[in-house]
Symmetry: C2
Subunit: 218 residues, 2 copies
Amino acid sequence: MADEFTLYGYFRSSAAFRVRIALNLKGIAPHLEFVHLLKDGGRQHSDEYKRLNPQELVPALVHDGRTITQSLAIVEYLDEILPEPPLLPHDAAGRARVRELADCVACDIHPVNNLRVNQYLKATFGASVEQQVAWQQHWIRAGFDALETMLAGSKLTGSYCHGDAPTMADVFLIPQCANARRVKLDFAPWPTIARIEAQALKHPAFDAALPANQPDAE
Amino acid sequence: MADEFTLYGYFRSSAAFRVRIALNLKGIAPHLEFVHLLKDGGRQHSDEYKRLNPQELVPALVHDGRTITQSLAIVEYLDEILPEPPLLPHDAAGRARVRELADCVACDIHPVNNLRVNQYLKATFGASVEQQVAWQQHWIRAGFDALETMLAGSKLTGSYCHGDAPTMADVFLIPQCANARRVKLDFAPWPTIARIEAQALKHPAFDAALPANQPDAE
């Protein structure tokens, strides 16, 4: 049915976390399918899931008979078919700013730190757990240093990344903050990010999307 | 002036290549600033450039007194302020598909292979040139295997990724093809990608954007 959504995700996946926030903000309670990324070598690599997403990554959203992968594309799609509340501003310059902030996370921090990259580092370079954590910390630090400058230096930043309501920028930033905390990064150099994170986590759409609050949480 | 664009780029940067294609498709000849990524430790790390882009990455587009970074955000912005020819289809499902294809490159292939990641691999894990090339090949192969399945399996694929005119998906795919050829990958497993690449390279907007055709090419 056209009004039914199925989300294929994993509680700890940062990209699925983004989509959960966006769905919550839009007031959608999707049917949930759990794709355990570690059990039995990873369900994302099963033939069944590969038919859904040839990239073998979560999340995937099924709506209206179609599968959409890539969290950026999913969030843009949700915002187009369900315009309220808007996740992008109405002016082109504002939209560019929000997308730019989201892309800093979606392109330059998260994919470099993804599970499959860490698995490759371990297999090919013998990276220890400590080296994998240092790797993750390095790319989050580089990205957050830039994001802090971009957020603190703009009058467009409000209680959220862009004004005083959540946008796509917050949808992407908050899951990355959770990852940063998991690798024990100190947020002292990023007071603006920390302030926005604290604000967002008071919002039920963000709180309900937290990894710990998912049915498949371990 | 509102109709003036300045592009900060580097001939070999795949992300700058995307923006050059989009600008060409929209008929814009920007003022060019060259950010040499290797000379003197990299001009992207200079104080002057960091003020423009705190991420210390190219490209950056200056328009109407504002700087936009992140090639995805730049291409979406250009398509919003200059709607013809459109780089995204008009239906939400089609737009999702095109963004999904572009994001496969923009999120999951390119950033993992970026210069700064290779520099870190060398510095921290002592990765040889051969290991860096193998790393790049690995992530391109994973992404192109998925993209080939997605493109070959859809009736929406035409002479370009989505229909018979260039979209944002081609704007992102073609520079990644150039990177794949630079690391000597065999395109035999990806006949659909190879066919679209050949089609696009006949288009003057793509041809003029090639690294070899830039004023700063070496």
